[in-house]
Amino acid sequence: MTDRWMDRLSEYLDGELPTTDRAALEAHLETCSNCSALLADLRRVVDRAQGVEEYLPKRDLWPGIASRIGATPAAAPQIARRWSFSMPQLAAAAIFLMTLSGGTVWLLRSSALSPTTGPVATAPAPTLAPVTVNAPGNSASQSYSAAIADLERVLAGGRGRLDTTTVRVIEQNLAAIDRAIAQAQQALMADPANLYLNTHLAETMRRKLDLLRQAATLVPVS
C-alpha cells in the first residue's frame, strides 16, 4: 500500500521537490490512485490548517502586562517633554478640522435630501459648495498651517537628539501623509464635492497633526 513516493508527497505539495523528481512524481500520480488520494488528503490538511480561527483569551491580559512593565494610566513617557503644546494653535487647528468634518456632515445630509425622495423633494436642492480645504484667507486653515509649522520646527530643532531610526520612521510616515494630502487636494480640484475625498483629506490632515504632536514628545530635553 506504500511506495517510495508517499513520503515525498508533502515536499511535492509544498513545491520543494527538485524538478526531475517532480516530473517523475507527477507521472506516478497519473497511475497510482493511492498516492493521488493521499495527496488530496494532505492538501485538505494544509487548507484546514490555514483556515484555523484565531483564539482570544477569556480575560483581558493587558492589566497584568501593564503592571509588569510599570505602566499605569497616569504613567508618563520615560523621556521628559521639553515642549509644551501651543494650545491656541492646536485649538484653532482642531476647530479647522471640525469645520471640515462639519462640512462633510453637511454634505452627507445634503446628499440625503435627494430631490427624488418624496415630500422633501419640494424643498430647494442645496448647492453643494466645495469644502474650502486650505483655502487662502481661511483663518482656521492658517491656524492649522501655523500649528503644523510650529511642530515641524520643534521636530527639526530636536532632530539631532533623536535616534536615526526614529527620525527615519517619522520622516517616512510624514512623507506618506504629505503624499496623501497632496493627492487628495489634487483629486478635490477635479471633484470638489466628493464626500470621500473631503472626509479623507480631513482625516489625513488630522493624522499629520497627531503624528507631529507624538513625534514632538519624543524630542528629549536638551
Binding site: 513520503d7 490538511v45 490548517a49 493587558w62 502586562i65 501593564a66 503624499r179
Partner: protein
C-alpha cells in the same frame, strides 16, 4: 482619471495600513509610551495568543502570552524596523514559547520518527461522540511534530526558518511535517 483613482486607493492604504501605524507605535513605545505599546498589544494579541495556545496549551496560554509582550517591551530597543513589527514580535514569541517549553518539564518525546507520530493519535471512528476535531487532534500531536506543523502550515514559516528556530536539520523539519499531516488527515471533517 485612472491614475487619480489608483492614488486614492494608495491614500486609503497609507492612512489605515497597520504597518505604518505599527512602526510609529513601536517607535513611541520604545521611548516609553505605554499607550502606544497597548495599541500594539491589542492589534497583535489574537495571533500571538493563538500561537502560544497551539504550541503550548490552553492552561499556560495567558501567562506565556503576557511573558511575550513583557519581553517585547523589554526588547523594543532592538527593533530596527528592518522587518514588519508583527514579524519581529512573532519571532520573539516563538523564542519565548520554546524557552517555556524547556522549563515546563512535562514535554512528550519530541521528534518521533516513522509511524510513531501516527500512533500518538487515536484513529478517528465514525460517529460524533468519538470524533476528535481538527484542533484537538493538533493538540495531541507530539511536541516536535506539533511545533513544526503549527509553524509551517498554520503560521507560514519556511523549513529553513523552522530548522533555525528549533535547532533541527531541515530534513527533520520536513519529515516531522509530513508525519504530522499524515496523522491529521484522519481527523479531517468529512
Amino acid at each position: 482619471m485612472t491614475e487619480l483613482g489608483l492614488g486614492v486607493v494608495t491614500l486609503a492604504y497609507e492612512q489605515t495600513g497597520r504597518p505604518d501605524s505599527d512602526a510609529v507605535d513601536a517607535t513611541l513605545a520604545a521611548s516609553g509610551d505605554a499607550s502606544a505599546f497597548e495599541r500594539l498589544y491589542r492589534h497583535h494579541l489574537p495571533r500571538v495568543y493563538s500561537l502560544v495556545r497551539r504550541m503550548l496549551n490552553d492552561e499556560d496560554a495567558d501567562e506565556v502570552t503576557q511573558d511575550v509582550f513583557v519581553r517585547a517591551w523589554q526588547k523594543l530597543g532592538t527593533f530596527r524596523g528592518e522587518a514588519a513589527f508583527g514579524t519581529w514580535l512573532h519571532r520573539l514569541a516563538v523564542n519565548v514559547i520554546l524557552a517555556r517549553r524547556e522549563t515546563l518539564g512535562t514535554r512528550r518525546k519530541r521528534y518521533l520518527e516513522g509511524d510513531a507520530v501516527l500512533e500518538t493519535l487515536p484513529t478517528r471512528r465514525p460517529g460524533p461522540e468519538l470524533a476528535m476535531d481538527f484542533e484537538s487532534a493538533m493538540e495531541r500531536l507530539p511536541d516536535g511534530a506539533k511545533e513544526v506543523f503549527v509553524l509551517h502550515d498554520v503560521e507560514g514559516y519556511r523549513h529553513e526558518e523552522i530548522a533555525e528556530m528549533l535547532g533541527l536539520a531541515t530534513g527533520t523539519s520536513k519529515s516531522q511535517l509530513h508525519r504530522a499531516r499524515l496523522a491529521l488527515r484522519r481527523h479531517l471533517e468529512r
